[in-house]
Structures are given as structure tokens and as C-alpha cells.
């Protein structure tokens, strides 16, 4: 496991020290803070209206406020994670350090796993920014702690899926910019699969799409519904894309 740790440390800490990450984190934090404040104010007004006599009463903060906020987190993650991951493999090729890794006495899968953990670590930092605002809110209002924990788990796994897909995109090309584009399209495709699985008329196709439908699985976790099958499904997607990335770097040597 030592090579995995060594590669994780280099990729994670070298990016942690880069000004680019600071800029990305700041912009994301700014974006999410604006969104969160707006959603909270809207929720406050809706709650006041709902608490009027003859209305439904207090609104559920998790389903009314947090679920809307989560969708904004997802939107930004789709774009930002490929930007964070773009140079992980394609950048190594560009700077000729890919040869250094591939001629070191380590297995190629260790390179991919080390890079995946570094990317996931960076993704979790982004999540920490996103969850900072709900955490502050939780000091003032009662929130469903279990639902929040389940949501955080869901986001952690979604970030892992996005990172593995972006890593695969980075393994396909020598250009970091192309890797961003491909990663974005792959991440976006998860929404398409979710859409197709809901609209599918054939039971067989619907069943098949549901098996690979990441967004629905994540949504269960966001809503506080903890299913082992969802976790296993998301974990499987991560493993598949890491395997494909490893195959890609191996295949390049045979071309």
C-alpha cells in the first residue's frame, strides 16, 4: 500500500498548496453562500406563510430547504471536479512524469488508486465548503441530524463517482482541457441515465437503467433513506471507472 500512499500524498498536497485550488474553493464557497442565503430567506417566508392559521403548518427544513440546496451543490460539482482532476493523468503525460510512474517498481492500479484518493480528498474539501453553511444554520434551528449525515455520505459517494469518471476522462487524452470537457460530459450523462430510467417504457430497459442510475441512488441518501444497495451501487460505479482508467493507461503502452 506504500506506493498508493506516496502517490496520494504527492497529488493531494501539491494541489493543496496551489493557488488554483484556493481560487476554486473561494469561488465555490461564494456561489454556495449566495445560493444558501437566498434559499434560506425563501424558506423563511414560506414557513411564515405556512404557519398562518388554516395553512399546513411548519415546513420540513430538510425537504424544503436542504434538498434544493443539494441540487445546487451537485450542479457545481459536475463542472468543478473535472477541473480539479484534469491534470491527474493527462498532465503527467504532458510533463513526461508519466514515464517516471510507469517505470517505477509499482503496479499501474496503485497509481490509479493513489490518484483517486487524492482527487477524492480534494472533492471532500469542496464538500466541506458546501456543508459549512448548513452546519452554521444547525446552531440556530433544529435539523434532522441523521438525514444530514446520510446526505453527507451520499455526497461523499457522488464525489467519488465524479472523481473516478473524471480520472477516466483524464486517462483518455493528453490534453487537460479535453479531459475537463470529457469529464463534464461523463458526469452530466448520469442525469441523462436518470431521466431515461424514469421515462423508459420497457420494464427490462427501465430495470437495467435503474441498476446504473447513480442519481436516484444518491437521492435516496440525500433524503435520509439509507439503503445498502445504494451504497454498493455507487461503490461499484467507482470501481468500474477506476478499472477502466487502469486499463487505459495500460492500453496506451500497447498502441
Amino acid at each position: 500500500m506504500k506506493p498508493v500512499k506516496v502517490i496520494f500524498k504527492r497529488d493531494f498536497f501539491s494541489r493543496l498548496k496551489s493557488p488554483r485550488l484556493l481560487v476554486i474553493l473561494s469561488l465555490c464557497a461564494l456561489f454556495w453562500s449566495v445560493i444558501f442565503i437566498n434559499l434560506t430567506l425563501t424558506y423563511q417566508q414560506s414557513s411564515i406563510l405556512a404557519s398562518q392559521p388554516g395553512q399546513t403548518g411548519l415546513l420540513n427544513i430538510h425537504s424544503q430547504l436542504m434538498m434544493s440546496y443539494f441540487s445546487w451543490i451537485v450542479i457545481l460539482l459536475i463542472l468543478v471536479i473535472p477541473i480539479l482532476i484534469m491534470g491527474f493523468i493527462s498532465g503527467e503525460r504532458k510533463s513526461h512524469t508519466f514515464e517516471l510512474l510507469m517505470t517505477a517498481p509499482i503496479h499501474p492500479y496503485q497509481i490509479i488508486v493513489g490518484k483517486f484518493f487524492a482527487g477524492w480528498g480534494l472533492g471532500l474539501l469542496l464538500l466541506a465548503c458546501a456543508f459549512f453553511f448548513p452546519m452554521v444554520l444547525s446552531f440556530y434551528v433544529d435539523m434532522d441530524v441523521m438525514a444530514m449525515l446520510s446526505s453527507f455520505l451520499g455526497f461523499s459517494l457522488l464525489v467519488a463517482v465524479y472523481v473516478s469518471m473524471s480520472l477516466f476522462a483524464s486517462s483518455l487524452t493528453h490534453s487537460p482541457m479535453v479531459a475537463v470537457g470529457l469529464g463534464f460530459l461523463l458526469n452530466l450523462s448520469l442525469f441523462l441515465i436518470a431521466g431515461f430510467s424514469w421515462d423508459a417504457t420497457s420494464a427490462l430497459i427501465a430495470d437495467l437503467l435503474q441498476q446504473v442510475d447513480v442519481m436516484t441512488k444518491v437521492n435516496y441518501l440525500f433524503m435520509g433513506e439509507f439503503h445498502l444497495s445504494s451504497i454498493f451501487g455507487l461503490f461499484s460505479v467507482v470501481v468500474i471507472f477506476l478499472f477502466l482508467s487502469e486499463r487505459m493507461i495500460q492500453a496506451e503502452r500497447w498502441q
Binding site: 504527492r10 510533463s95 513526461h96 514515464e99 510507469m102 517505477a104 517498481p105
Partner: protein, 306 residues
């Protein structure tokens, strides 16, 4: 230490290597010479396990690099043509990263050893980005030897360096020879003459010669003997020279040179020169340069192919 057996490599329809075989014992410096596109880098990439051969086998210390890549790669240090440097890292951090990738135990001792050996002490805490090309090349060599490999494979180690830096790297290679088997690819022939014990000449994916540096001259026996005379030869002296030696003589200012078949001719030539000019200022013998031998060998192969 290194055994390359009947290695073929095809890039699609292009045959980059056509049955390359050689072996190399411990403690030698061997130079791989060849024109651009001859297959030098390809053979090196196959030896390091970066590229798979289409056919054939490479063994490092009796370990097949494709069957057991991890232990085989442990014995290799590789400097590719473009040094594989993370430019944003500091030299020490970079060397630590390379050592940690390859060593099970603590790397601090080995890092300080290579830093001393390669004269990197003054830049060890600088970012690689800010180093001169010579220092970058040294850092590239340092990463190749940080895990104390038995075999060092250096692809064009002096490319892009100024003459002073080239000499430094050459001296370093000669020093490293004591502890490592070194395999160098280059197209700078003087580098081979000065650093290598043996040379492999490769052209169009095939080995066309493997010789010790001393034996290479057998490929071209003719030498030139140069005499310097005090004044430019007069027309009479000129005519006399051509009558006696014909096409073998060349006059350039006050330098007169002759093509000779063997050393025995030298004394006869000296006598003739003294007779014609009444004395000579200096005399020197020039062996065929490695460049000439290289050009001759590669062109001979081209003619045979035709």
C-alpha cells in the same frame, strides 16, 4: 546484468525494432548509437518495462521485466530523454517522492547521498522550475539513482546542455561507472568515445555493430598524417609531391596531409617531406573519428539493403 533477446517492436505497420539482441555484464558503460529514428529510445523504453515488445524478452539481473515487472524495475534507474520532473516541487521533495516510490525503508540517507554525489546541495531546497537546464538534468539523474539500482539507463543524458555542463555530466557518468552498469543512448559520438567501454550501433531497428571503443577503428583502416611546414609549398614542391604521392596527398596552406595504410609508412613520409621541404615544423596522426566510422557503417548498411 542486462539480457535483451530477439526483441521486435512494431508500431502499426512500422517495424521499429527487428530482432535486437545483446547482453551486458556488471560494471560496464555501454553506448547505444544511432541516427534519429533508429530505435534507440524504443529499445530503452522496452528495457525499462515502459513499452512491451511485440516479440522477444528482456531480463534484468535474470528477472523477466514483463513476467515480474516490480522486482525487475527495482533494479533499474531510468532517465528518459525529457527528464520526468514535477517542476512545482522542491528538489528534496521530488527526490523523496521518487525514493519513497521505490524503497521500502527510509529514504533520507539515500537522498543525502545522491545530493552530495550530484552536487545538488546548493539547490536542494529550490523549486525545480527555477533550476538551470544542467541542474534539471542532474536532478533527473539523481531520481534515476536514488534507490541505488544496479542498472542505470540514460536516454540522451547530455542533450541540450552547454559544453561545460556536458563535461560535468560525462565526468559524473565515469564516476557512477564504479557502482552501476550504465546504458547510454546518444547521437553525440564524442560522448561515447569519452564515457563508454563498448558501443552498440543501431540503424533502422537493427544492431549493425557491437564493439569496444578501441576496436571500432578496424572498421576503417585508413589514417591521415599531417605535416606542418614553415612556408607555403612552392609550385615545384607541389608538383613533386603530386608526382610522388598522387591522390593521397592534400595541401592546405602550409599543412600537407597524406592518407596512409599503416604506421610503417609514417617514417618514409617524414623522410620524403624533409627531402622536399628541408625540414618540418610538426607532425600528427589522425585516426578515423567515430563520426566517420558511424557514417561509414550506416551508409554501408543502406547500400547492402539496396
Amino acid at each position: 546484468m542486462i539480457e535483451v533477446k530477439n526483441v521486435y517492436k512494431n508500431y502499426g505497420p512500422v517495424e521499429a525494432l527487428k530482432g535486437v539482441s545483446f547482453d551486458l555484464g556488471k560494471g560496464h558503460v555501454i553506448g547505444l548509437l544511432g541516427p534519429n529514428g533508429a530505435g534507440k529510445s524504443t529499445i530503452m523504453k522496452i528495457m525499462t518495462g515502459f513499452l512491451p515488445p511485440t516479440q522477444g524478452q528482456v531480463k534484468i539481473a535474470d528477472i523477466d521485466i514483463w513476467e515480474n515487472p516490480v522486482p525487475a524495475k527495482q533494479k533499474i534507474g531510468y532517465l528518459p530523454e525529457n527528464p520526468p520532473l514535477y517542476e512545482s516541487m522542491r528538489v528534496y521533495d521530488y527526490l523523496k517522492f521518487c525514493a519513497d516510490l521505490r524503497l521500502d525503508h527510509s529514504s533520507a540517507e539515500r537522498i543525502s547521498f545522491v545530493v552530495d554525489r550530484l552536487g545538488l546541495a546548493e539547490v536542494v531546497h529550490k523549486r525545480i522550475l527555477h533550476l538551470s537546464k544542467g541542474f534539471k538534468q542532474r536532478v533527473g539523474i539523481a531520481q534515476a539513482m536514488v534507490h541505488n539500482p544496479d542498472v542505470l539507463i540514460l536516454d540522451e543524458p547530455t542533450i541540450g546542455l552547454d559544453p561545460v555542463q556536458m563535461i560535468e555530466i560525462r565526468d559524473l557518468i565515469l564516476e557512477l561507472k564504479k557502482d552501476h552498469t550504465i546504458f547510454i543512448s546518444t547521437h553525440i559520438l564524442t560522448e561515447v568515445e569519452k564515457t563508454c567501454d563498448q558501443v552498440i550501433i543501431i540503424n533502422k531497428g537493427q544492431i549493425i555493430a557491437r564493439e569496444s571503443i578501441g576496436h571500432l577503428s578496424k572498421w576503417k583502416n585508413n589514417k591521415r598524417v599531417y605535416f606542418t611546414v614553415s612556408t607555403k609549398p612552392s609550385q615545384d614542391q607541389f608538383d613533386l609531391l603530386f608526382r610522388k604521392f598522387g591522390e593521397r596527398v592534400k595541401v592546405n596552406g602550409n599543412e600537407v596531409s597524406f592518407e596512409v595504410k599503416d604506421d610503417l609508412e609514417n617514417s618514409k613520409l617524414s623522410q620524403s617531406m624533409i627531402e622536399i621541404f628541408g625540414g618540418i615544423s610538426s607532425m600528427r596522426v589522425d585516426d578515423s573519428s567515430l563520426e566517420e566510422i558511424f557514417v561509414q557503417m550506416t551508409s554501408e548498411q543502406a547500400n547492402e539493403t539496396r
